[in-house]
């Protein structure tokens, strides 16, 4: 079970296991993008909707005799009450702890027992439950998923135990200065919107969240009209539809859930926010800017900008940060990245620099802003743009090999845009992005006065 925190790129920068609580299964690309290459056959998605509002997507995939089954719920940390942070994530745990017809732990045990894998993840916008099983167990897995969509048990003793488990997950963050620095960054960047916290929640809020609170949350959001069923693998649309109808069909429709975050939009930022937080063993500068929501057209240009700055060894910011200083004969810093956190609501564009010597902190921070200023005043070359688009295309093609990866793409696309097939059409939009667009979005969104900076300084050089 994983929390999808917006720190994947940081974890990768620092060596994979760097952030114990922040290791999402999916690569950091927050929004799938691809261009349509000549001769590349795009996946053919088939969709359907049950009468109770449950949407389904099927994609045939023959790499192995397996199916990936995911159920996505449009509920995440941003849907939580401010004094009940961590509620969405609690379900990632208790959804495995027993229903009317399934004993505690049996769901995962059943899936493992047929040679499959089961997991779940929670982000600011969504909670997803995933399985990969041999294809003949498709119907069985759909029965299990339908069962826990509406028949979850809220046993106080079980919830108390699971609450302690989740607290241990939170404590992993408490013991890591970089995780703490990033959480503080979000608090500073978002003054009103619930993107100020992550799905991890807080120990204090968990302690005050009762089984009744959780049951009310469940009854609000775990409904067929708020979910997407995704099946990718070696089966047929007819079988998927038949099983979905059989197991999910009897569940009654429910009222659309409330969207509390709609009422607390983040106000425009007009001046730079900056804070230096508790030191870590190494230094890291987090710089970030609010960007539009996933559906906005400018997201395409920002996505390409993220690649130009931070993806691949030759990316601008990575090269800049690792340039050798003629005086010290050492590089300015050791690593850099520019991940874009595309969200259902306005998200963030991040730029990070990792360094060792305390004296280099200001220069690393300066280099980040300087690189953006360069792009704002002079668009990147056509060659850089081509490289970024090729990277997206190749990443798209590489991703076509994994049923689970494809199911994730489809689910994310639905959460971010409301359309599970949108990610395939993004390709054409991306191809339209021009160098001038990159300069324009930099000038529009990534300006010094809109920036939030958090610095985790290094303790000392060894």
């Amino acid at each position: 079970m994983k929390l999808l925190l917006p720190v994947t790129a940081v974890a990768a920068l620092l060596g994979g296991a760097a952030l114990a609580t922040a290791q999402p299964a999916a690569p950091p690309a927050p929004r799938p993008r691809a261009s349509t290459p000549a001769g590349l056959k795009l996946p053919q998605l088939e969709t359907f909707t049950l009468e109770n509002g449950l949407r389904g997507v099927f994609l045939r995939h023959d790499a192995a005799p397996v199916v990936a089954v995911e159920v996505w719920y449009r509920v995440g940390a941003k849907d939580e009450a401010r004094d009940r942070r961590g509620s969405a994530h609690m379900f990632e745990h208790i959804m495995f702890k027993g229903t009317k017809r399934v004993r505690p732990e049996a769901h995962a045990r059943f899936v493992n027992g047929v040679g499959g894998q089961a997991n779940a993840h929670t982000s600011e916008d969504a909670t997803a439950y995933l399985q990969v099983v041999p294809a003949e167990y498709l119907d069985f897995v759909l029965e299990l998923e339908a069962e826990r969509m509406r028949n979850l048990r809220f046993d106080p003793a079980t919830i108390a135990t699971e609450r302690e488990v989740v607290k241990e997950e939170i404590r992993q963050q408490e013991n890591d200065p970089v995780s703490k620095g990033l959480l503080r960054f979000l608090e500073i960047a978002f003054t009103r919107h619930p993107y100020a916290w992550t799905a991890g929640g807080t120990i204090a809020d968990l302690d005050r969240t009762t089984p009744a609170d959780l049951e009310a949350f469940y009854n609000t959001y775990y409904q067929p009209g708020n979910a997407l069923l995704v099946v990718v693998g070696q089966t047929t649309l007819a079988e998927v539809k038949a099983s979905a109808e059989k197991h999910f069909g009897p569940i009654p429709a429910a009222a659309p859930p409330p969207r509390p975050a709609d009422a607390t939009p983040e106000p425009p930022q007009t001046e730079k926010r900056r804070e230096v937080v508790e030191a870590g063993q190494i230094g890291i500068v987090f710089a970030g800017w609010k960007i539009p929501e996933a559906r906005a057209q400018d997201i395409y240009a920002l996505q390409v900008l993220s690649l130009v700055l931070g993806t691949g060894e030759s990316a601008r910011l990575r090269q800049r940060i690792r340039t050798i200083d003629p005086k010290t004969k050492q590089p300015l810093g050791v690593e850099a990245a520019a991940p874009i956190l595309v969200r259902e609501h306005p998200g963030l564009f991040l730029a990070l620099g990792v360094y060792r010597d305390a004296a280099a902190g200001a220069a690393v921070e300066g280099a980040i802003f300087d690189e953006l200023a360069r792009i704002a005043s002079k668009p990147p070359t056509a060659d850089e743009l081509r490289k970024a688009k090729n990277q997206i295309l190749a990443g798209f093609v590489f991703g076509l090999d994994s049923p689970l990866g494809l199911a994730e793409q489809i689910g994310q696309s639905w959460i971010l845009t409301g359309d599970p097939t949108q990610w395939l059409r993004d390709l054409d939009e991306l191809e339209k992005v021009t160098p001038a667009d990159l300069a324009r979005v930099t000038r529009t969104y990534l300006t010094p006065e809109r920036a939030t900076v958090v610095v985790v300084p290094p303790r000392s050089a060894p």
Binding site: L14, G15, A17, A18, A20, G39, L40, A63, A64, V66, F96, R101, V102, R103, E105, A106, A108, R109, N112, G113, G115, G116, Q117, V132, P134, E136, E147, D155, A157, T161, R163, V165, K167, E168, R171, N175, D176, P177, I282, G312, E313, I324, Q330, P331, V334, E335, V354, R356, R386, K387, N390, Q391, L393, A394, G395, V397, L400, D401, P458, P462
Partner: protein, 747 residues
């Protein structure tokens, strides 16, 4: 007897033994799990179990029937060998327009000598950072421009280079990867960058409790004399030189020591031509033998508390030795480990520690799947107050699995998952190619990959239980607890668990200064003078002019030699005729006689039950080193022209403060660190790096005067997990010795 053992025996008589600025971890006699005294048991006041809400329900969803394990149907796999000897296998898969190359070099961290710890990883890091044709930026731009990936990674057993692109750009991989392998340029500026990145990674580990605990548990389990116990540090990283990277590459990166797997959308005949052309410049070369490492006995139970103040959580690791990949118990061990902690939510550890106890977010167990035996490690963490209670739960589960093995149901579940999920693990063409190459690395066949599910399915409950009983060693394991020491220590004390305590930022395992004393390029004149003064006093205490005038020496002694878990009797006679003749006669276990000699410029020879032969040239430098560090003569080394001496800070060894002086030969080839007793002025220990990089520690005791020279009559030497303990029973100073003693016998 291994070559190392012989060298060690030689060192021992020549000498003796060790000192120990670093005392080994205390051996802990008892711990929960070792007997039943401290084992946590369910309390008697547990409230009665709540009624089972699922009892009697007729509509429960039950587990579906499971199909029996089936072999994996492998696609056609083509194998061929290039003219230079490089073996190639191809997994063709045209479903996607993607091509992957995976080149495995059979050399990794396991092959690093201690003196060059980190050389495999730094070499790998540098491969994409410059070739004779392109600099790092050009390589990056080339691969980035097609959206591909190119990586080089040094693992424990092998170094992997991988390159993936879309089919239309396959030529990029076919150019770049061979170039990286055959023509790396190791630019100094990129070495600086790569070192900096590695140093940051090591520092970052101090904030990364799971990674830090993992490094400690390997060191505690395998010790300072085994490659698995070594952990890199900023000091190790900084001392690596470009020349060492070049040598590492030249030694190991040869076609006969590699295997290439190509997977994806390829045309095989064309691929053969392309590969032959691309690797044409990679010439055949001898394949070096890989070093063998001997696992030290665990010797009971050891607990290390790694103190990181203000942590709210304790990382817990319990480790012991695992099994080799080709061990007959491998598949049974897969099965019982799945039941214990390898099966995620289906495992006992998750059930007991997480689901019932609520003490952790995760608990698991895993063992290394290596050609040689690796580690078996249980991993979990908990809030500080629950540290020892959680440890007790883990140990109780280990003991239960050892005693009873898995149940029938657990065996069925394990087989169903391990066998059933295997097809998913090798469904991608590159995954399958990687599995085939790894099988080759471990001496296993293609059939092994295809039959893996069937082989798992053949494990019986009895076999799994027997494997659990023989593999798990509840009286020999190590524990690492990483967290707030001031809050964990009282819990351990209250439970009666002995432990050693170290700071979280203390170096892990041997460090460069200890293993191979560094040679300062410039020596502070004051420190040099202080060092000379200490050594003059030591020489005077030993016999002064008598030592200087020494012409010949013959010593006999006897003792024990321990290696590879065995101890044998040894008898030794060592004969020296200065300046350049030496002979050693060794009798092992009162049966086998081995002799060595160095006969000045005439070279050296050895005679063993296997026959008489010249000493290989490769061994001469090591014998020269042994002569240089000879304890009867080493105090004379500072008087040799160009020798460098520097006093180092005094060190506390076994509760006694000793003066420390470092001596380096004029050519820089030999360096040793001498430990002197301030009271007697005598040399009581020295440590230096031998040829393979292993640290040798010699300790000298029981000094007695013979013909005016004080000679240590007890000598204990340790290196690379082998220990010799020799008592000298006869010493002759300046005896009449015939030079023919050193001449190579005619037969």
């Amino acid at each position: 007897m291994t070559r190392t053992s012989i060298a060690l025996a030689l060192a021992a008589l020549t000498v003796g033994a060790a000192c120990g600025p670093k005392a080994g971890p205390a051996v802990i006699p008892t711990l929960p799990g070792d007997g039943a005294d401290h084992v946590a048991r369910p309390t008697d006041d547990t409230p009665p179990a709540a009624p089972d809400p699922w009892a009697g329900r007729a509509d429960l969803i039950e587990a579906p029937p499971v199909r029996p394990p089936q072999p994996v149907t492998l696609p056609p796999i083509e194998r061929f060998t290039l003219p230079n000897g490089l073996e190639v296998l191809v997994v063709k898969d045209s479903r996607l327009p993607v091509v992957s190359l995976q080149l495995m070099i059979k050399a990794g961290r396991a092959d690093e000598p201690l003196a060059r710890l980190g050389v495999a990883e730094l070499t790998a890091d540098l491969l994409p950072k410059g070739t004779r044709k392109r600099d790092a930026l050009a390589i990056a731009r080339t691969i980035d421009h097609v959206g591909g990936h190119i990586r080089a990674l040094a693992g424990f057993e092998a170094t992997w280079l991988t390159c993936t692109t879309m089919t239309k750009d396959a030529k990029v991989c076919l150019e770049l990867l061979p170039e990286m392998v055959t023509q790396p340029s190791f630019p100094e500026v990129e070495i600086t960058r790569a070192k900096e990145a590695q140093v940051v990674g090591v520092m970052r580990r101090l904030d990364d409790a799971p990674a830090l605990a993992a490094a400690h548990v390997q060191n505690l389990l395998w010790g300072d004399d085994h490659v698995r116990g070594w952990t890199t540090s900023p000091e190790w990283i900084r001392r690596l030189t470009r020349a060492e990277l070049v040598t590492w590459h030249k030694t190991w990166f040869v076609p006969g020591n590699a295997m290439l797997a190509v997977s994806g959308d390829v045309d095989v005949p064309r691929l053969k031509r392309d590969l032959t052309r691309a690797f044409a410049g990679w010439a055949r070369a001898p394949v070096p033998a890989r070093p063998k490492h001997v696992a030290p006995p665990i010797g009971g139970i050891k607990v290390r508390l790694v103190d990181k103040p203000r942590q709210t959580q304790t990382q817990i690791r319990v480790a012991q030795y695992g099994v080799r990949h080709d061990d007959p118990r491998f598949f049974p061990t897969l099965v019982w480990n799945y039941a214990l902690g390898g099966g995620a939510f289906s495992s006992r550890l998750m059930q007991v520690v997480r689901s019932e106890g609520g003490k952790t977010y995760g608990a698991s167990s895993a063992f290394d799947r290596n050609a040689e035996r690796g580690s078996f490690v249980v991993t979990t963490f908990t809030r500080t107050a629950e540290t020892v209670a959680t440890l007790e739960l883990v140990l109780r589960e280990l003991q239960k699995m050892h005693a009873g093995g898995p149940t029938d149901d657990e065996v069925k579940a394990a087989i169903a998952n391990l066998a059933g999920s295997y097809v998913m693990r090798v469904s991608g063409a590159d995954d399958l190619a990687g599995a085939l190459v790894t099988a080759d690395l471990h001496g296993l066949s293609e059939a092994y990959v295809a039959n893996f599910p069937v082989l798992v399915g053949q494990v019986s409950r009895e076999e799994a239980a027997e494997a659990a009983r023989s593999v798990l060693t509840p009286r020999a394991f190590v524990v690492v607890l990483l967290g707030d020491g001031d809050r964990i220590a009282p819990q351990l004390q209250q439970a009666g668990i002995p432990f050693e305590r170290v700071r979280f930022d203390a170096p892990i395992g041997p460090q460069p200064e200890a293993a191979t004393p560094t040679t300062p390029t410039t020596i502070d004149p004051k420190l040099a003078a202080a060092g000379v003064k200490l050594l003059d006093a030591a020489l005077a205490a030993k016999g002064g002019d008598k030592v200087v005038a020494l012409k010949a020496l013959r010593m006999t002694g006897a003792g024990k030699l321990s290696a590879q878990g065995q101890t044998v009797d040894v008898e030794l006679t060592r004969t020296l005729l200065l300046p350049d003749r030496m002979r050693m006669d060794i009798v092992i276990a009162k049966q086998f006689q081995i002799s060595f000699a160095l006969d000045g410029a005439a070279g050296g020879w050895t005679r063993s039950p296997g026959g008489l032969e010249d000493l290989p040239a490769a061994q001469l430098p090591e014998l020269a080193r042994q002569r240089w560090v000879d304890p009867e003569l080493v105090l004379l080394r500072p008087r040799e022209p160009g020798a460098r001496v520097t006093a180092l800070p005094a060190e506390k060894v076994d509760g006694k403060v000793l003066d420390v002086v470092q001596v380096t030969s004029a050519d820089g080839a030999h360096t040793t660190r001498l430990y002197l007793d301030p009271a007697t002025k005598l040399l009581v220990a020295q440590r230096y790096a031998s040829g393979g990089g292993a640290e040798t520690v010699e300790r000298f005791d029981d000094y007695r005067e013979v013909a005016g020279i004080r000679i240590a009559h007890r000598r204990v030497s340790s290196a690379a997990g082998e220990v010799s303990d020799i008592t000298v029973d006869k010493v002759e100073v300046d005896p009449a010795i015939d030079r023919a003693t050193f001449a190579k016998p005619r037969s």
